[in-house]
Each structure stands twice: as structure tokens, then as C-alpha cells.
């Protein structure tokens, strides 16, 4: 198994945010996590990425538990699991040019030769369908959709096996959304990247994911194959969400 989550619990003070969350993900598979605002979606992905420690429970990445990771293990893990955030404007440094935004992670991953750096950066830009002369621009000179593509290119620079996306298209316009969704599909099909996709739009989850996990009140209320679960929801809450998304 690529990623296994077992009985995760997390509280902030007296607020019990996540209760006994368990699921697993195969390599190259994509999972959608849905639920209302404030249900703990973002807390869950922070825990999956090791950015927050759970109060109890286990996270196994390729069979090894995150809680026993050494420094070198973390370094390898961070390369394999990358994140794309909701708001592309606030996740890119406004004072850095696109070139620097993309070169920095490449350098950190051990790439030193300037010529190779440039080459890799151009391939990244091409991969996210942006012209290579965008490398001289600042984030403020780009539209929301273009910024989000840069954020995705930055995540791809580490050649990840798992891409965690926290509402990556909810701040974008419909057409820009469609372009990003196409890009994600391409990554799934060509690079076999696995996805954890947090969203409140079930239509998008159905479009992209193999399986879906529905959170309600900090608990898993339904989990299963995407099409089946969303077309024949067993839990009333899933039905409510499916109706609200116009499925």
C-alpha cells in the first residue's frame, strides 16, 4: 500500500476535530476528500503530510510510519509528497520572479548546473502549458489560473508521486478551472501521479477521483469508489452534498 492512515485523532484544546479517520491509497490512485467548511479537511491533509502531529493514530507511507522518520526520510518524503494550495496569489512569493520560484526547489533537490536548471524549468513550464518567456514575470503579472499553474509546476519540480491539492480550483473562474482539471488529468494519465483532492464541489471530485471520502463532524461518514458512492449515496449527508453540487 502506498499510503495508509489508521485511526487518526486530533483535538485543538477541547475541540475534537478528527475522530478515528482511516483510509488507504494505492500508488497512482486519486482520492477526493469532501465536506463542509470547518469539518477538518485541511487539518487532515496537514496531518497526512506530516505538517501537524496527530494525537493518536498511524500514518504509513510506503509501509514506513511517519512517526519514526529520520531527517533523511523526511527529505525523501517531502520530495515524493507535494502540495498545491487554494489561493495561488498567497502561495507564491510576490517578490520572486517565476524563474526563481521554480529554480529554488530544483536547486534544493541538488541541481547545480545553470544550463540544466534552465532546461528543467522550461520543461516544467511546458508541462503546465505556459510559454517559456513567463519565467521573467512576477506573480502579480499573471492571472489566477496562470498563478495556479506556476504553483503546480513548483510542486512538480520535485517529481512527486503524491500531489495533495487543497481546493486548488475554487478561487478560479470556470474556464481557468477547466484548464487546471485537464492538467491534473494529464498528470494522472502520463505521470501516474497519485492525488489527494480536497474540495467541496462533488462534480469536480467525480471528474478526477477514483474514490471519495466524505467527512462530517470530524468522522468518515462514507468512503468508497467515486462513481458508485456519488450516484447511489448510502449516507443522507452524502446525498445532501450530491444534490447541492447538482449531481
Amino acid at each position: 500500500m502506498f499510503l495508509e492512515i489508521e485511526k487518526i485523532n486530533k483535538s485543538f484544546g477541547s475541540l475534537h476535530v478528527l475522530k478515528d479517520i482511516s483510509f488507504s491509497l494505492k500508488k497512482g490512485e486519486s482520492l477526493g476528500i469532501v465536506g463542509e467548511s470547518g469539518v477538518g479537511k485541511s487539518t487532515l491533509i496537514k496531518i497526512i503530510l506530516g505538517l501537524l502531529k496527530p494525537d493518536s493514530g498511524k500514518i504509513l507511507f510506503e509501509g514506513a510510519s511517519l512517526s519514526y522518520f529520520k531527517k533523511s526520510d523526511w527529505k525523501a518524503f517531502r520530495k515524493k509528497a507535494q502540495i498545491v494550495f487554494q489561493n495561488p496569489f498567497s502561495s507564491l512569493d510576490p517578490r520572486m520572479r517565476v524563474r526563481n520560484i521554480l529554480e529554488e526547489p530544483l536547486r534544493l533537490n541538488g541541481e547545480n548546473s545553470n544550463e540544466l536548471l534552465r532546461k528543467k524549468m522550461n520543461t516544467l513550464l511546458k508541462e503546465v502549458d505556459l510559454p517559456t518567456d513567463f519565467s521573467n514575470r512576477f506573480p502579480r503579472q499573471l492571472s489566477g489560473g496562470e498563478c495556479q499553474r506556476i504553483a503546480i509546476a513548483r510542486a512538480l519540480s520535485a517529481e512527486p508521486e503524491l500531489l495533495v491539492c487543497d481546493e486548488p480550483v475554487s478561487s478560479l473562474d470556470l474556464l481557468a478551472q477547466a484548464h487546471i482539471l485537464n492538467l491534473f488529468l494529464k498528470l494522472q494519465k502520463e505521470r501516474k501521479v497519485g492525488f489527494i483532492f480536497v474540495s467541496h464541489d462533488l462534480k469536480i471530485v467525480r471528474h478526477l477521483c477514483d474514490s471519495v471520502l466524505v467527512l462530517q463532524g470530524g468522522q468518515v461518514c462514507e468512503i468508497g469508489p467515486c462513481l458508485e458512492t456519488l450516484e447511489r449515496p448510502k449516507h443522507p449527508y452524502t446525498r445532501l452534498l450530491a444534490e447541492a453540487s447538482g449531481l
Binding site: L175, D201, C226
Partner: protein
């Protein structure tokens, strides 16, 4: 069903001039809104939807507007600046076919809220954070109907109830930060309706809200349309949302109307390439895990 046109926009051009160049936001736009309809204006960001809606009552002072906006409905407007004691004397008939672009600023402010009213995108920024919700709605009511405070409060509470808020006394006394996003948007709708307008312009009213709350707000608008004989001009970039509620959809592209579609027996069928493209982008008629043609 024979319907009456209440608003007709003819050859509307809106432009902004900067130092040395002129930006045309809306070009030669014509559209009409039928009484009691749910009309949608759909387009990408920057296509000119919002500026069109705001320009109906000249809410963008820096824009230069040419063309005509005919208010066909007529109806009552308020004499805002005259000293009148009774409600009856306070009402004046607005002649039919009034061209809103020809009205003076003073006449227009009698018109705003009374015939055309607005609900905006972010309820958190459209309410004044320092004034209790009830008082903000009272203020709107008192601006149009010079009555007593008690009368206004009664009316405000009735309107808060009509937007299906529970515990209206508490909402009346609450400050905006004490309400959730959905409740704030309901309060905004109550405020927009308190002067009994004919046309409600809703500019992306649910973009800042969760999907389940979004559905509730749309259901509410749909009910209000029936119970109050209200006309709704709904602005959104979400074609999927528009397709499930609208009677007529105007698709805007780069300041122009690319297409007008009416609801047929099988929903909406777009003719223009751009309309079809938007439909696909809204994941309508697109199978899972297939690329979207855009």
C-alpha cells in the same frame, strides 16, 4: 405565457478612460428582462457582467455610459428629498419607459432600492461591521418610507422572517460578525427587499459560500420570486448554477452578448462555440476522467 418586459437595455456601451487610453468594458450590449423571470448573466471574470449590472442605476461613477436603459415597468418611487408627512403623499408614479441614463442623480436615488435593488458577492464586506443588522435594515426602510422607528422595526422583523431566518429578534440585535456567512447573505437579501423593489440584481451572491448554503440561498431566491412577484437578474460565472435555475441565460464574452438562450424542454442548448465551451467547462455532458475541450 405572455410576459411583460420590465427592463430593456439598448446598445449600452460602457468605457473607462485612463490617461491616454480608453478601455471598453461593455460594447453594444442589448438585453431585456421579463417580469417575474429569473434571468442570468454568465461570463468569465472581466467579461463585463458586474459593470453592466451596476450601471443600471449608475453605481460606477467613473464609467462613461452611452445607450439607453429603459425601465418599462413604471411603478412607484419615493420622493426622497421632499418634506412629506404621510406615506401616500410620498409616493410618486414613475412614468413607464423612463430612460435611467437620462435621470438626474437625485431622481436615481429615489429609484435605487425602491425599484432596482442589489445583493453583492461578499456579505461580510457589504454590511457595516459597526452597526447592528436590524438598524442597517431600518435605515434602508426609513430612507424610503418616512415612518416611525417602531413601524420600521416591525417591517424589518417581518422581512428577516421572510428570508427564513430563525430567531429574528436575535438577528435584529446582532452585529454582522455574530452571524454566519449564509445568515449574513439572508440579512442582505432582507435589506435589499425591504423597500419592495421589482427587480433584484444578485451579483455572484453565493460565490463566497459553501455549496450546501449556496443551494439554500438559491432556493430562497426562487421562493421569493414566486411569493413576491419579484424579478431576478442573477450574475454568475457558474454556468452550471445558472442552468439549474434560470429561465433565460445571456452569455457575455469580452463585453458583448455572445448568446441569448431560453430554457427549452430539455434545459438549455447553447448554439455558439463559446457557450458550448462554457458548458463543458462546467463539467456538463463531460464524462469522468475525460479531457475537457476548451
Amino acid at each position: 405565457m405572455t410576459q411583460k418586459t420590465i427592463l430593456e437595455i439598448k446598445n449600452l456601451n460602457i468605457s473607462f478612460s485612463q490617461k491616454d487610453r480608453k478601455i471598453e468594458a461593455v460594447k453594444n450590449l442589448s438585453l431585456d428582462v421579463q417580469e417575474n423571470s429569473f434571468t442570468c448573466l454568465v461570463g468569465e471574470s472581466g467579461s463585463g457582467k458586474t459593470v453592466t449590472a451596476l450601471s443600471l442605476t449608475r453605481l460606477v461613477p467613473s464609467a462613461s455610459v452611452t445607450g439607453n436603459i429603459f425601465w418599462e415597468f413604471g411603478g412607484h418611487i419615493t420622493k426622497l428629498f421632499s418634506k412629506v408627512e404621510t406615506l401616500e403623499n410620498n409616493l410618486v408614479m414613475c412614468p413607464q419607459n423612463t430612460d435611467l441614463t437620462k435621470l438626474s442623480e437625485k431622481e436615481l436615488s429615489q429609484f435605487r432600492g425602491r425599484q432596482i435593488s442589489y445583493v453583492f458577492q461578499d456579505p461580510a464586506t457589504s454590511l457595516n461591521p459597526l452597526i447592528r443588522v436590524g438598524d442597517q435594515i431600518n435605515e434602508t426602510y426609513l430612507a424610503h418610507f418616512p415612518t416611525t422607528y417602531e413601524e420600521a422595526k416591525k417591517e424589518t422583523l417581518a422581512h428577516l422572517e421572510s428570508v427564513q431566518l430563525k430567531d429574528v429578534e436575535r438577528v435584529y440585535r446582532a452585529y454582522p460578525h455574530e452571524l454566519s456567512g449564509g445568515m449574513k447573505q439572508r440579512a442582505m437579501i432582507a435589506m435589499a427587499l425591504v423597500a419592495k423593489p421589482k427587480l433584484l440584481v444578485a451579483d455572484e451572491p453565493t460565490t463566497a459560500l459553501d455549496v450546501t448554503v449556496e443551494r439554500e440561498i438559491l432556493k430562497l431566491l426562487e421562493e421569493l420570486r414566486k411569493s413576491r412577484n419579484l424579478t431576478i437578474l442573477f450574475i454568475t460565472h457558474n454556468l452550471r448554477l445558472a442552468a439549474s435555475y434560470a429561465d433565460v441565460i445571456y452569455v457575455m464574452k469580452k463585453g458583448e452578448v455572445a448568446e441569448k438562450v431560453e430554457r427549452g424542454a430539455r434545459g438549455f442548448s447553447m448554439q455558439s462555440d463559446y457557450g458550448k465551451q462554457l458548458f463543458r467547462a462546467g463539467l456538463m455532458g463531460v464524462g469522468p476522467k475525460t479531457f475537457i475541450e476548451v
